[in-house]
C-alpha cells in the first residue's frame, strides 16, 4: 500500500466501483518514488478545493493495477506515475511521469471544471 494520505484503491473491482460511483475521478498509479510523490502531494493539496473531484492512488506494482497500466490511453507510457482521469466512468485523460501543480489543475479545470 502506498504511504500517502489519499484513498487507496487495492483491487480492479474496487477501481471499477470507484469510477462508477464518482462523476469526476483522478487516480495516480505509481510507487513511492521521486517522480510520483510530488503528484500525490499535489492531489492531497487539491482535495480541499476540488470537492467535485474524487482523488485516489493505486500501487503500480499491484497486479490489480493492470486495469490502469494496460489502458489503451497509457500505451507507450514509460515514466511513473501513470495519472488517469475519469468522467462518468470513462477515461478522459492520462499523463505519464511527474506533473506540476499547474499541469494538474489545467487538466482538472478542462475536464471537470474549476472549483466553485
Amino acid at each position: 500500500m502506498l504511504q500517502t494520505n489519499l484513498k487507496h484503491i487495492m483491487t480492479a473491482d474496487e477501481h471499477q466501483k470507484f469510477i462508477e460511483e464518482n462523476d469526476n475521478v483522478m487516480i495516480c498509479c505509481g510507487r513511492m518514488g521521486p517522480m510520483c510523490i510530488p503528484v500525490y502531494g499535489i492531489m492531497e493539496e487539491l482535495e480541499d478545493d476540488y470537492t467535485h473531484v474524487t482523488f485516489a492512488d493505486m500501487e503500480f506494482d499491484n497486479p490489480e493495477a493492470a486495469v490502469i497500466r494496460n489502458a489503451p490511453e497509457c500505451r507507450g507510457f514509460m515514466g511513473l506515475p501513470f495519472t488517469v482521469y475519469y468522467k462518468n466512468g470513462k477515461l478522459v485523460k492520462a499523463t505519464s511521469s511527474i506533473q506540476s501543480m499547474d499541469q494538474v489543475t489545467a487538466i482538472l479545470n478542462e475536464q471537470f471544471g474549476e472549483p466553485k
Partner: protein, 319 residues
C-alpha cells in the same frame, strides 16, 4: 488580497530546513507561515531510505518529512504549498511576499529555505518526451527499458551509479558527459568503466531529442571536434545535479556565482531580518542533518531579531 496579519516569521520553503525552522519558531510562540512552491518535505521526501538520521534507525524520506510537517503544524505553524511566489519585498522593515500574483503576506522576518531541484538539459524535445523515454529516476522507470538501448547524461556519482544500475535492464547504456573526465568517486568511475554494457561519449552534449510518439533518438555534439551524431535510443536518463531555487532572489539578496545564498554563521543574509537555510545556501555538504541544523540556527536568529523588534516597540509605547 492582503492579509491583515503581520506574521513574526515567513519561511519560504518546506523542505527539511524550512520545516525545522517552522518547528522552532512556532514552538517559540512566534506566529509562523511557511509558503512552499512544491510538496512539503522538498528533496527529503524523494529519498527512498534514510538510515543515518541520528535517533531514527531507518525510515523513508517521505515518512520523516510527513512527521516534520505534522510537528510544525502541531505547534501552530501554518503551511501553504504548491503555490507560486510572484513578488517579494525583503528590504522594508515589514517584509512582504506575494503569491500567485494576488495574495500578499507580511512578516517581521523572512527565512529563505527554497531548496534545490534537479537540473534539466533544456534542449528541444526534453519536455515533449518526458515520461515517453526521458526520465530523471532510474529506480522509478528503469524497468520500462528492458532490453532497450538508452543514454545516461552526466558524470557525477548519481549518473555513474545509475548507469551501472540501469544495465540490469538495458541492453546498452551510453554515458554522455560534457567533460573529458568524471566528477564521481573513483569506485563509481571504475564500476562504470568495467561494465561491458556501458559506452562513453565524452566531451559531448545532447542537442536535441527526436521521436514521434515516443523517444527514438538523440542528436549528440562532440564539443571538442564539433562533430554531431544521431544515437538511436528509446530512453534517456538525466542526472546532471541540482540547482538552487534562488533565481527569484537574484538582485534581491546576495548570491554567489552559482546562485547560492550567502549567509554567515547565524544564517544571516546581507539584509537585516532575512535569513537563509538548507540546500540553497553556500556550503560544502548537503544532507538532511545539515539542512535541519541550518533551519534551527536561522529560526533562533530570527526569533532573536523579532524579540528585539517587539522589545523596542514596547519601549516606545511605554515612553
Amino acid at each position: 488580497m492582503k492579509e491583515d496579519t503581520i506574521y513574526d516569521v515567513i519561511i519560504l520553503g518546506a523542505g527539511a530546513a524550512g520545516l525545522a525552522a517552522g518547528i522552532y519558531t512556532s514552538r517559540a510562540k512566534l506566529s509562523t507561515l511557511i509558503l512552499n512552491e512544491g510538496t512539503p518535505g522538498g528533496q527529503l521526501v524523494l529519498t527512498h531510505e534514510i538510515a543515518n538520521y541520528p535517533g531514527v534507525e531507518s525510515t523513508s524520506g517521505y515518512q520523516l518529512g510527513n512527521i516534520m510537517k505534522k510537528q510544525a503544524k502541531s505547534f501552530g505553524c501554518k503551511i501553504k504549498s504548491n503555490l507560486h511566489i510572484t513578488a517579494v519585498d525583503l528590504k522594508s522593515e515589514t517584509k512582504t511576499v506575494e503569491v500567485n500574483g494576488k495574495d500578499t503576506y507580511a512578516a517581521h522576518t523572512v527565512i529563505l529555505a527554497p531548496g534545490g531541484r534537479p537540473r534539466m538539459l533544456n534542449v528541444p524535445g526534453e519536455e515533449e518526451f518526458k515520461g515517453k523515454g526521458i526520465s530523471y529516476c532510474a529506480t522509478c522507470d528503469g524497468d520500462f527499458f528492458q532490453d532497450k538501448e538508452i543514454i545516461v547524461v552526466g558524470g557525477g556519482n548519481s549518473a555513474l551509479e545509475e548507469a551501472v544500475s540501469l544495465t540490469k535492464y538495458a541492453s546498452k547504456v551510453t554515458i554522455v558527459h560534457q567533460f573529458d573526465h568524471f566528477q564521481g568517486f573513483e569506485h563509481a568511475i571504475r564500476d562504470a568503466r568495467e561494465n561491458e554494457k556501458i559506452e562513453f561519449e565524452m566531451e559531448s552534449m545532447i542537442q536535441e531529442f527526436i521521436g514521434s510518439e515516443n523517444l527514438e533518438a538523440a542528436r549528440v555534439k562532440n564539443m571538442r571536434t564539433g562533430e554531431e551524431k544521431i544515437i538511436n535510443v528509446e530512453g534517456t536518463f538525466i542526472f546532471i545535479g541540482y540547482v538552487p531555487n534562488t533565481a527569484f532572489f537574484k538582485d534581491v539578496v546576495e548570491l554567489n556565482e552559482y546562485g547560492e545564498l550567502l549567509t554567515d554563521g547565524r544564517m544571516k543574509t546581507n539584509i537585516p531580518g532575512v535569513y537563509g537555510a538548507g540546500d540553497s545556501i553556500k556550503k560544502p555538504y548537503r544532507q538532511v542533518t545539515t539542512a535541519v541544523a541550518d533551519g534551527t540556527i536561522a529560526a533562533l536568529s530570527a526569533a532573536e531579531y523579532v524579540n528585539e523588534i517587539k522589545r523596542k516597540q514596547k519601549d516606545l509605547s511605554e515612553a
